[in-house]
Symmetry: C2
Subunit: 433 residues, 2 copies
Amino acid sequence: MGFEPQGTLPSFFSARKGVAANRPTGIKDEGNMKRTAVGNMLIAQSGGPSMVINQSLVGAVLEARKQKPIKRIYGALHGIKGILDGKIIDLRRESAATLEAVAATPSSALGSVRKKPSPEDCVRIFEQLRKLDVRYFFYIGGNDSAETVHIIHQESAKQGFDLNCFHIPKTIDNDLRENDHTPGFGSAARFVAMAFMGDNLDNRALPGVKIDVVMGRHAGFLTAASALARVHPDDGPHLIYLPERPFDPDAFVRDVQGVYSRLGRCVVAVSEGVSDKSGTPIAATFIKEVDSHGNVQLSGSGALGDLLARLIKDKAKISRVRADTFGYLQRSFPGIASPVDSKEARGVGREAVRQAVKGGSGSIAIRRARGSAYRVSFDRIELSAVARDTRHVPDEFIAKSGNDVTPAFVKYARPLAGALPKVGRFKGKTVRM
Amino acid sequence: MGFEPQGTLPSFFSARKGVAANRPTGIKDEGNMKRTAVGNMLIAQSGGPSMVINQSLVGAVLEARKQKPIKRIYGALHGIKGILDGKIIDLRRESAATLEAVAATPSSALGSVRKKPSPEDCVRIFEQLRKLDVRYFFYIGGNDSAETVHIIHQESAKQGFDLNCFHIPKTIDNDLRENDHTPGFGSAARFVAMAFMGDNLDNRALPGVKIDVVMGRHAGFLTAASALARVHPDDGPHLIYLPERPFDPDAFVRDVQGVYSRLGRCVVAVSEGVSDKSGTPIAATFIKEVDSHGNVQLSGSGALGDLLARLIKDKAKISRVRADTFGYLQRSFPGIASPVDSKEARGVGREAVRQAVKGGSGSIAIRRARGSAYRVSFDRIELSAVARDTRHVPDEFIAKSGNDVTPAFVKYARPLAGALPKVGRFKGKTVRM
């Protein structure tokens, strides 16, 4: 897509030149100074699953089948753990129907892992990849996975092992640098928006205070997506708390009381990662406090919501207060993936293979075109540009009050989540008695 | 549907005869000894919302518009509270488009309430209904709502106020007597099945123990519906605990350890209402225990899941243990209602109006025809047959082990939840290294 790999990865190309003697046999010079490795491909999935991570996998596999330099197509089970343990499956053996069925299925079909390779792991990984004559390595995941790819890439250069390493972006947290947004976020945002649409209607029917805890430990994009649920001016979520702003329990109680006295009800979206001024997660503060009073070890995903609910009951003197924690459903619920997200997830997988065959290593970033119509392109970027560090919700997306998002965020997120169910409401012509 | 109201409600008809002097003006004798009241209709919604409760509302309203004896069509906001407070809207003023949009929207569009009318409330309710010249009263809800209708019906007979009272069934708990199943259950079951499909895939990708707490305090039908999620023999939920069997924490730990050692992972469905041998809810036991150690008031929906997770961590020595509590999403998530459930919910609303116009009071029950094809009919039943008491998951639906359901349950529930998303899985031809 208008990208020139020769221009942006000079260091890697010179590194390869410098280790020419160690270069494996499967390299041919295509005459235009670009070297295309011929050999096998290995792909794996890492980190938290998403609803569309298999679209990226299948996008890569289907593209690889078209690329002549790519011979066998291997899938490692449970990420680099599968490489280390030699748990590899042959993805050329899967039918087109199976691939399409897997693509439409949430959660990592190859299995996932949360593991950063140690230097010893890297040595072992190269042994395994050499054994399998792998020249193309693809790893689908977030910033930790990008770092893993980066480490493996650096080690491969050091060892003179000719490996084209590509990171394929995925994270429901939407916190990868360089990307306008990340595959997986749109579908998770769609789940969160739908959940809040329903929960707002539930709260409207049986009024009270409802606190919903949303995933996203450090980045509040997914919690912010709750704003997409609003249809009518009085719809919830009425308050939205992101980890990008310090969470003040007293201000929280005041905020809730304010909404409750105005509307007789209040729906709150809280990120699981909300933290106090010092950066300590509120969940941790509360849990520590409870620990000092007894042997209670609160270690489950419902704790923060329950504790915030107790705070409102105690301090705001509101009796009907409930909390739900959306949990893993946000990343794995089947049948409701955002169509745009599904298409883009497939696209980044396909693009990674295309770029890898051109030579070198990197990641694929989603860029959004300026203008009113939603349009994206995929860019090849350096692994170092996306690895490790994350991005946060920018200031222009957070309301000055610190308890809501801006219209700019809604405009940003709406096309990613796709069309939401329609909400019907009575005009409600009052009958005089 | 083949029902003869004269045959089943003799007492009510004689009661009405006995108070002929007090009978309001809007009664005409149709010549066939069946009296059709002419007057206004009032409808309201009560109890916990469901995804399809508005289908019943709209079914009743659309049918009422066709029935000549029914004049104005009133909706009371927040159930009997709206009648008491005089918060009534005119449902004849709503367009067909609005009605259809509302029908497809989850959660009680008129608002709901959890309130059992006192004798004083009843007096006031009759005053209000007289004022509005209401002859047809419809109340959509569960067994508590049926009891409310029953009380109002008995009081109306006592006072000689000619009121045709119908209960329209609704409950995601599926615990109404006389009914094969209840409107609202199929859609909630569909949500639970979808949630477990996704969660099983998530757990397969990142193995560990996952405990999901499902609604249904006294009846385990909704928790049992988690079994619909299974596609492959190794799919979760691997263990299902219903409130119909005593919950033994030690047996629970052993069960989880057994599955975990066999599959390396375990997905558990637990009803929020699981109780010990003495009938004390496990949640209550745990919470009491914590209370005695400090001032911790655990009062939120995440508590049971978190506490069961802690039990597994401590006793089974498994490190990755997570718990989610599905919460209100089970009854209010938009866009995924079961088509069969939606259709039947509309049907019971329509049928209640048809039966009410025939005269008398009662409820509508869903019966299933014997035979392999799924087919239902609606029967008119006595209010007393459905009010107050609930039904439980029958023994033939619960596995002997007490930690699963039987194939008979799956056969029973599958048509109610409707078609579920397809799950793709690789054949996974292993590569030898």
